[in-house]
Symmetry: C2
Subunit: 160 residues, 2 copies
């Protein structure tokens, strides 16, 4: 390759996805300052509230696509702040259930009172939003498949 | 509101953008393990190589949409690893130019030898990729505008 830094059309699109999602997250982060929580905390609170099944740190790590040790550290900090509680399951070794506390619920309500960034696609036409959703579904599926193929460290939870 | 956790269509789309970009980044992160660099390092190396103007930590923070102190810490760690060098400008206080070292250049070449995740949009039709790019441009522009409005701490660099 003459110029190894040269990107093809797909790679330029990847770069645009990367930068756009960083900008969207930065906007949401600034919006959450007034709610007193960070973006990763907001994601954990939201999944704990909406999940139909009990969540473990490993399940959260799969939902949020972050490394298990990152999520464990986050959950520990949130527990110290009183936002979540954890409970060990005696029957299943290493199985820890994470739950929302009253304080965590209040933080979630504060978080959801700030929704300007979350409504940024109101700038798009309804056709564009529908197409975007179709594309995102395909990309998410492809990414999950790729993660499964490339995974070097255990990313699945055998027991939980 | 009856159920404060209920999300409208735009907010569900935001959630899908969030989760999809996290999965794409996780795939890229796993891909970069073999190159021996992290995703934020990869972004810094790439921008240093391709920027048409000298870059300061503040300019990098605007390009990557991360907080200035996050980028400063990252640049310091990368300098300690020999991937970048920094040079103070005597004429302009607080102005630090970040440059790629030979070792940083080699790391960039290793990074760009792994491109499977970056080519994930090959799963889409060319029409979908074109539409995605149009949508991303609009969303990026809207997000940058929102960041500008919501910014509480200095995010711009007056002199650099």
């Amino acid at each position: 390759m003459a110029n190894p830094v040269q990107l093809n059309e797909d790679e330029k699109t990847w770069e645009r996805i990367f930068i756009t999602s960083a900008a969207l997250q930065r906007a949401r982060e600034l919006e959450l300052v007034s709610a007193g929580i960070t973006l990763p905390q907001a994601a954990v609170l939201y999944f704990l509230k909406t999940s139909s099944e009990p969540l473990t740190p490993m399940k959260l790590s799969r939902l949020i696509h972050k490394e298990p040790h990152t999520i464990s550290a986050l959950v520990h900090r949130m527990e110290a702040q009183g936002l979540v509680s954890t409970k060990k399951d005696m029957a299943r070794k290493n199985w820890v259930r994470v739950s929302l506390t009253k304080k965590g619920n209040a933080a979630l309500t504060r978080q959801l009172s700030q929704r300007t960034a979350m409504n940024i696609t109101t700038r798009l036409s309804r056709e564009e939003v529908a197409t975007l959703n179709t594309i995102l579904r395909k990309l998410h599926e492809a990414a999950v498949e790729l993660i499964r193929q490339m995974r070097r460290s255990p990313y699945d939870e055998p027991l939980g």
